[in-house]
């Protein structure tokens, strides 16, 4: 059984002198990488008599799976919701910059916009894996893993190409499955809870459910998440159909009560968009969407995840703690970062509106309505750890493992298991990012 060498000739990198996040704890172990994936060194030793070609001394750093941001509207002057001609460039620009925050995969988020914007923006960005050019737009990755779902429902495959090659039972041809990449936050949301979204572009569901969605959005290819308000009539069939297509349905910008929210979860909804913000406040006789955290009507085996903007502004630390303690395994850190993230104070554009930066706050210009956050993901991780008192491992999992589980791309992403993608973030004791790797290649290092 110990076989010959050459499972592969590719070079092997060994990260030494580090602590890695694995099995829900920080372990003093070396991390081995080959061909962009985490390698099992014991197999390498016994099966291939192999050893490392290159050693990287991490100087005692923590290695965590790269962060995954499932709600980010733009940054560094780029606004994903702007219907420009070079959306792809914009996404790529942000993708590169957020490597500095340890983010290796993200879902570019579009706020409520008119159909023209969706029709223009969505087709311009083909989801792709990350690399030295920047973080991966979740999609292709999603494709790979959703192909496993696809195989189970081959008869209903709506991909454009019939899968041909098969590997370990999973088809790896790039069958274009209609689900991956963007986070579409709106326009099917509640007028009462629109937050910074422009009222004139809000919509309700027309009969015909999904077809109507397709008219508005143009295409659901490369869409990973849709945020909607479940109290809108006709939402049930939409939630169900989107979920069946493998799109994560999120509840947000909604005035739903708990039973409406639970109904949506039963139809397949699995996420809550920025918990507490843009929803009814927790009430002890009707907890609203917040009540999902401790609901007993969640179908067995399913988890409801919830996004939290842990920037110290969108949520009071005490509220963050309540949510965390009620349902720690569902907490997903998101930045909800807007165009102005990374930019100096002043006025900037978000969707169809203008916002104003004051210090760490971003308001709808002329109001005190929060418009989004300008905190970076690593700031959110540090803040979350500090105010919740959670462990380093929990803080890191909230930015990596949980979003990966939410999108169904774990363990390929979000984990450092053997076979997982080697998207890594090296952090110091204070959880500051020292270096970022995608597929085992260094894509950013502090000080360079």
């Amino acid at each position: 059984m110990p076989s010959n060498k050459s499972v592969s000739d590719a070079p092997i990198t060994q990260f030494i002198n580090c602590r890695i996040l694995r099995d829900n704890e920080l372990q003093r172990e070396d991390l081995w990488v080959r061909e962009g994936r985490i390698l099992d060194p014991e197999k390498l030793f016994f099966d291939e008599q192999g050893y490392a070609d290159k050693r990287v001394d991490c100087g005692g750093s923590i290695i965590a799976p790269g962060f995954i941001d499932v709600q980010i509207n733009g940054g560094y002057g780029i606004d994903f919701s702007q219907a420009s001609e070079d959306v792809s460039d914009g996404v790529s620009f942000v993708a590169k910059k957020i490597l500095e925050h340890g983010v290796t995969s993200f879902c570019p988020t579009l706020v409520t916009s008119p159909p023209e914007v969706y029709h223009k923006v969505l087709p311009q960005v083909k989801v792709h894996d990350g690399g030295p050019h920047g973080a991966g737009v979740l999609g292709e990755v999603l494709q790979m893993l959703l192909l496993q779902t696809c195989l189970r429902k081959r008869s209903r495959c709506s991909g454009t190409r019939a899968p041909t090659a098969a590997e370990n039972g999973v088809c790896f041809t790039s069958c274009k499955l209609p689900c991956a990449g963007f986070h579409l936050e709106g326009p099917f949301i509640s007028a009462e809870k629109k937050g910074a979204h422009p009222e004139k572009y809000l919509r309700t569901f027309k009969s015909g459910g999904l077809e109507h969605l397709m008219e508005v959005y143009g295409s659901l290819d490369d869409v990973a998440i849709v945020t909607l308000a479940p109290e809108l009539p006709g939402s049930q069939s939409v939630v169900r159909e989107l979920s069946q297509r493998g799109i994560t349905v999120s509840l947000g910008h909604s005035a739903a009560d708990l039973s409406q929210a639970e109904e949506a979860v039963q139809q397949g909804a699995s996420f809550i968009t920025h918990l507490f913000n843009a929803m009814l406040p927790f009430h002890h006789r009707d907890p609203g969407i917040v009540g999902l955290l401790t609901s007993d009507r969640i179908p067995a085996g399913r988890v409801v995840y919830y996004g939290m903007i842990a920037d110290g502004i969108h949520t009071n630390p005490a509220a963050l703690r309540i949510a965390h303690r009620a349902h720690p395994s569902g907490l997903v850190l998101v930045t909800d970062a807007i165009t102005a993230m990374g930019l100096p104070p002043g006025r900037h554009t978000l969707g169809q509106q203008v916002i104003e930066i004051q210090g760490l706050h971003a308001y709808v210009a002329g109001t005190k309505t929060l418009s989004g956050s300008i905190a970076t993901m690593d700031m959110c991780v540090r803040h979350f750890k500090q105010v919740s008192g959670c462990s380093v491992q929990e803080a890191l999992e909230a930015a990596s493992l949980h979003p990966a589980q939410l999108l169904g791309i774990s363990p390929k992403k979000g984990k450092l298991d053997y076979g997982s993608d080697a998207d890594l973030v090296l952090l110091d004791e204070g959880l500051n990012v020292k270096a970022t790797y995608i597929s085992g290649e260094e894509v950013w290092r502090k000080g360079q």
């Binding site: 059984m1 060194p41 014991e42 030793f45 016994f46 291939e48 192999g50 050893y51």
Partner: protein, 276 residues
């Protein structure tokens, strides 16, 4: 026989590790001259392995030109099972040192022809020039490797069915579930270990005391297979105080009295001045 008695487990582990280190360094292994080491598994040698890893990390010892042969492996347990001896050696020793994979040899308990695997293992030992130093432990029933009571004292590497005692003792590694413990193993024979140039047995803990007594103060007996080493010209038993609890006071005093001589074997080697 040399009987080395240290105060506690840690000291015994360190003494044994230093002895191994010195043996390797004195041998001066090189690309055409490998030092061959026989190795055990279990909780007893863990401290010794930790020390050897320390010596490697300090730069005092290299395993580049060392070949290892493990004593045994379970039959039918997947190689990457956390309780396989492959996993044990990887996690507790190999992954921390600079040994080359092709120089390590562990019996494969998952081949189709188990006896052929055993025969091939014997051939590999011969091809490597025999074993310079075979390190082993002792079971509470006096067995060496998996040579259970009743094993021939001239046995070679073969398949063995495990004794009930052994299966019970191992259950703690399999969630206490007796049904999960392997019932067979491949093991070097008593004869195989006797062929080594030198044999070192590590024995620590009160629960091993009776076995040690049977092994060195009673006769050679296939019911206590470690007793076979009374007939080996170079045997060394390294133990802690607790393991001597069943020995005669006279035996213990005699060997303790010789520690000042025996300790010379573990002195740090003189550092050679670098030649230009």
């Amino acid at each position: 026989m040399k009987l080395i008695i240290l105060n506690d487990y840690d000291q015994a582990s360190e003494w044994a590790a230093k002895y191994i280190r010195n043996k390797i360094l004195q041998f001066s292994p090189g690309p055409n001259k490998y030092f061959t080491l026989g190795l055990p598994t279990g909780s007893t040698p863990l401290g010794c392995y930790k020390k050897l890893i320390e010596y490697y990390k300090n730069g005092d010892l290299s395993f580049q030109y060392v070949k290892t042969f493990n004593m045994d492996e379970y039959v039918g347990l997947p190689r990457d099972h956390p309780e396989s001896y492959h996993s044990f050696m990887w996690n507790n020793f190999f992954k921390h040192i600079d040994i080359k994979a092709e120089n390590t040899h562990i019996l494969d308990g998952n081949t189709a022809d188990l006896q052929a695997e055993c025969d091939s293992f014997e051939k590999k030992i011969t091809a490597a020039g025999g074993i310079q130093l075979f390190v082993g432990g002792i079971g509470p029933d006096g067995h060496i490797a998996f040579n259970e009571p009743g094993s021939s004292l001239v046995s070679r590497t073969r398949v063995k069915t495990l004794a009930k005692d052994t299966i019970m003792a191992n259950a703690r590694f399999f969630d206490g579930d007796l049904s999960k413990v392997p019932t067979m193993a491949l093991t070097v024979g008593v004869g195989t270990v006797m062929d080594a140039k030198e044999v070192m047995i590590l024995i620590t803990g009160a629960h091993k005391a009776f076995a040690l007594y049977k092994a060195i103060e009673e006769g050679v007996n296939h019911m206590w297979t470690v007793s076979a080493f009374q007939q080996h010209p170079q045997t060394i038993f390294v133990c802690d105080e607790d393991a001597t609890l069943e020995l005669r006071v006279k035996t213990v005093k005699y060997f303790k009295g010789m520690m000042h001589v025996h300790n010379k074997l573990v002195e740090s080697p003189p550092s050679e001045p670098k030649k230009n």
